[in-house]
C-alpha cells in the first residue's frame, strides 16, 4: 500500500514547512546578539527595546483601534450581506451583489488600495469629504475587504442550520426582525465571533492597502515594520512577531474551542 506511508510523510513535511520559519523566528527573538541568526545566549532585551520605541507603540495603538472599528463595521455589513445571500433566494441584481461581496476577497491589494485612494481624492474634490487621509480612510478601506470575509464565514453558518426553529418562531407570531434577533442571532453567534476576529486580524495585518490610503502621521504597525524590515533584519521585529504570534495563537485556540463546543448543540437542535 503506497498511500499508507505517503500521506503521513507528506503532511508532516508540509506542516514542518509551515512552522519551521515561525519557530526559528520565535527562538531568535530571545537571542542576545544583534545578528538574528547567530545564537549567542538567552536574553529578553529586545522585548524591552520594543516597549521603549515610541514610534512602534504609537503605530500599534493606531492599528488596534482601526482593527477594532473596521471589524465591527464589517461584522454588521457582512452579516446583513450573508443574510441577504442565504435567505433571499431571488432578487434583482443578486449576481452583481454576490460578485461585489466576494470580489474583495481575491482582489489584489494594490488595486484595492489604489482605487480607494483615487476615490477618496476625487470625493474630497467634489464633496469636501473625507478631508485629507488618515485613520478614517484606513477604517473605511479595511471595513470594505473585511466585510467580504465576515460574509463568507456567516454565510456558511447560516446555510447549514435548521430553519424549522425560525419557522416555529414565525408561526408563533414573531415578526421576521424579532425572529432574527431572538432565534437566528444566538445560533450564528459563534460565526459572528470568528468573523469579527478574522476581520480584526486581517485589518491588523494589512500593509499594502493602508500604505495607499493613509496620510502623514498615521502609519500603521505593518507600515512601521515594513520600513524596518526593508533595511534588513532587526531583532525587535522578532520580539514583536513573537508577541503577535502568541496572541493570535491564543485567539485562534479560543475561537476553535467555541466553535467545537457549539457543534453538539447544533446536532441536537
Amino acid at each position: 500500500m503506497r498511500r499508507g506511508w505517503f500521506l503521513p510523510i507528506a503532511a508532516t513535511l508540509g506542516f514542518s514547512f509551515l512552522y519551521a520559519p515561525i519557530v526559528s523566528l520565535v527562538i531568535f527573538s530571545f537571542n542576545e546578539s544583534r545578528l538574528v541568526t547567530v545564537w549567542s545566549g538567552f536574553s529578553t532585551k529586545w522585548y524591552g527595546e520594543l516597549f521603549r520605541d515610541p514610534q512602534m507603540l504609537k503605530a500599534a495603538w493606531l492599528s488596534l483601534q482601526i482593527a477594532a472599528i473596521a471589524a465591527t463595521i464589517a461584522l454588521v455589513l457582512g452579516t446583513l450581506a450573508a443574510v441577504a445571500l442565504v435567505r433571499f433566494r431571488r432578487f434583482k441584481g443578486r449576481t452583481l451583489f454576490s460578485g461585489m461581496v466576494s470580489a474583495p476577497l481575491v482582489m489584489p491589494d494594490v488595486i484595492t488600495g489604489l482605487s480607494l485612494l483615487l476615490l477618496f481624492v476625487a470625493m474630497e474634490g467634489f464633496l469636501g469629504w473625507p478631508q485629507g487621509r488618515g485613520m478614517l480612510t484606513i477604517v473605511i478601506a479595511h471595513s470594505t475587504f473585511c466585510t467580504a470575509y465576515v460574509c463568507v464565514v456567516v454565510q456558511s453558518r447560516l446555510s447549514d442550520f435548521d430553519r424549522s426553529l425560525e419557522e416555529a418562531a414565525m408561526d408563533l407570531g414573531a415578526s421576521p426582525v424579532r425572529t432574527f434577533f431572538d432565534i437566528t442571532l444566538p445560533i450564528i453567534a459563534p460565526a459572528l465571533v470568528s468573523g469579527w476576529l478574522l476581520g480584526f486580524t486581517l485589518s491588523l495585518d494589512d500593509l499594502v492597502i493602508a500604505s495607499f490610503v493613509s496620510g502623514p502621521g498615521s502609519s500603521t504597525l505593518p507600515m512601521v515594520i515594513f520600513s524596518k524590515v526593508r533595511l534588513g533584519v532587526s531583532p525587535d521585529v522578532n520580539a514583536l512577531a513573537t508577541i503577535i504570534i502568541g496572541l493570535v495563537a491564543t485567539g485562534v485556540l479560543i475561537a476553535t474551542i467555541i466553535q467545537l463546543r457549539s457543534k453538539p448543540k447544533k446536532a441536537k437542535a
Binding site: 500521506l7 514547512f17 433571499f88 451583489f97 461585489m100 500604505s211 505593518p222
Partner: protein
C-alpha cells in the same frame, strides 16, 4: 447545556413594537428585504464598485503638477463642457518593454507558484480529510493558524530562514555544504508565495475531499484498481472544484503581490504589483498607476469568474 438554546415562546409584549415598525415601513413602500440589503449594497457600491470606475477614469488622464496630480477629465471652457481623454498611458503600456515584461513575468511567477502550492497542498488536504475525527480539527487549526498570523511577519520569518547566514545555510554548513544563494532570487519568491498562500489552497481542497463518499474508493478497489489508479480516476476528478477554487485563490492575489517580491525577490524580479507601487509612490504618476491597475484587472477577470463557479460547486456538493 441543551436547555439554554431551546426556543422559548416569545412573550407577546415585545412582539408588538417590531410588528408596528414593520407595518409602518411597509406603508411607505420599504420592505424588510430592502432594509437588510440597503447598507451592504450602498457600502460596496461606493467603496468597491465606484472606485474601480474611478481607476478606469483616471487611467485616461495624464500626469500634471498640482493637487490632485492628474489632469481633469471634464473641463468647462466658455460655458461648454469638454471631455479630455488621454490614451498615452495605455500606449506606453503596450510599447514599453518594462510593462510587458513585468506583466508576463507576474503571470509566470503566479502560475508556477500556484502549481507548486497545489502539489504541496493536495497531499496535506487529503491527509487531513482522511485523518481520524479527533485529529482532523487539530490539523485544520494548524493550517488556519499561520493564516491568522501576520502575513508580513511570515514573509520576514522566511528571510531569516533563507538569507546567506540563515538557518538553512547554517544547517547545510554542518555537513560542509557551501552556502546557497536563495534570497533575492525568483526561487525565494516562489517559496514565499507557496509559504504564505498554502492555507488558501488546503482549505477548499479539504472541503471537497472530506465530502467524498468512501464507498466509491471501496468500489474502485473491489473492481481491482490499485490505489494510484483509484486516485487518478476517482479522487482527482471528483476534487476538481476544490483544485480550481484553491488554485484561483492562490493565483489571483499572487499576480498582484507586492510584499513578497520586494522583500524576497531581487532587483530583477519584475512583478506588476511592484511596478504599480513604484509608479504610484516613487514616480508619483497616478494615471499611469491606474492604467497598470486596469491591465492587472484584465488579467484576473477570467480567474475570478472561474473561482466563482468553482466555489459554488464546492459549497453545493
Amino acid at each position: 447545556m441543551t436547555a439554554t438554546h431551546t426556543p422559548t415562546i416569545p412573550p407577546p409584549r415585545r412582539l408588538k413594537p417590531w410588528n408596528a415598525v414593520e407595518r409602518g415601513l411597509a406603508k411607505v413602500g420599504i420592505s424588510g428585504r430592502m432594509l437588510v440589503l440597503a447598507a451592504p449594497v450602498l457600502w460596496l457600491l461606493v467603496f468597491f464598485l465606484i472606485p474601480l470606475a474611478v481607476v478606469f477614469g483616471i487611467s485616461l488622464a495624464t500626469k500634471q503638477f498640482g493637487r490632485p496630480p492628474y489632469s481633469p477629465l471634464l473641463t468647462t471652457e466658455e460655458g461648454t463642457v469638454q471631455l479630455t481623454l488621454h490614451l498615452n498611458n495605455y500606449i506606453r503600456l503596450f510599447t514599453d518593454n518594462l510593462y510587458i515584461a513585468a506583466y508576463l513575468s507576474s503571470i509566470r511567477i503566479a502560475f508556477i507558484s500556484t502549481v507548486i502550492t497545489l502539489f504541496v497542498g493536495y497531499p496535506m488536504a487529503y491527509a487531513i480529510a482522511r485523518a481520524p475525527d479527533r485529529w482532523r480539527n487539530i490539523l485544520l487549526m494548524l493550517v488556519i493558524l499561520p493564516f491568522f498570523t501576520s502575513f508580513l511577519l511570515r514573509v520576514y520569518a522566511l528571510t531569516g530562514f533563507m538569507r546567506g547566514n540563515g538557518v538553512i545555510n547554517q544547517f547545510l554548513g554542518l555537513f560542509g555544504i557551501e552556502p546557497l544563494v536563495m534570497m533575492q532570487t525568483d526561487f525565494a519568491v516562489y517559496v514565499g508565495i507557496v509559504y504564505t498562500y498554502l492555507p488558501f489552497m488546503i482549505l477548499p481542497l479539504y472541503t471537497t475531499l472530506v465530502k467524498l463518499d468512501v464507498s466509491l474508493f471501496e468500489a474502485s478497489a473491489d473492481l481491482g484498481a490499485r490505489p494510484l489508479r483509484t486516485f487518478l480516476s476517482v479522487t482527482l476528478p471528483l476534487s476538481l472544484p476544490g483544485i480550481i477554487a484553491g488554485s484561483m485563490l492562490v493565483f489571483i492575489p499572487a499576480i498582484g503581490e507586492y510584499v513578497i517580491p520586494s522583500l524576497l525577490g531581487g532587483p530583477e524580479t519584475l512583478m506588476i504589483g511592484r511596478v504599480l507601487w513604484d509608479e504610484f509612490f516613487t514616480a508619483a504618476n497616478w494615471p499611469r498607476a491606474a492604467a497598470v491597475a486596469v491591465a492587472m484587472l484584465l488579467a484576473v477577470v477570467v480567474p475570478i469568474m472561474l473561482l466563482q463557479r468553482a466555489q459554488s460547486a464546492v459549497v453545493e456538493r
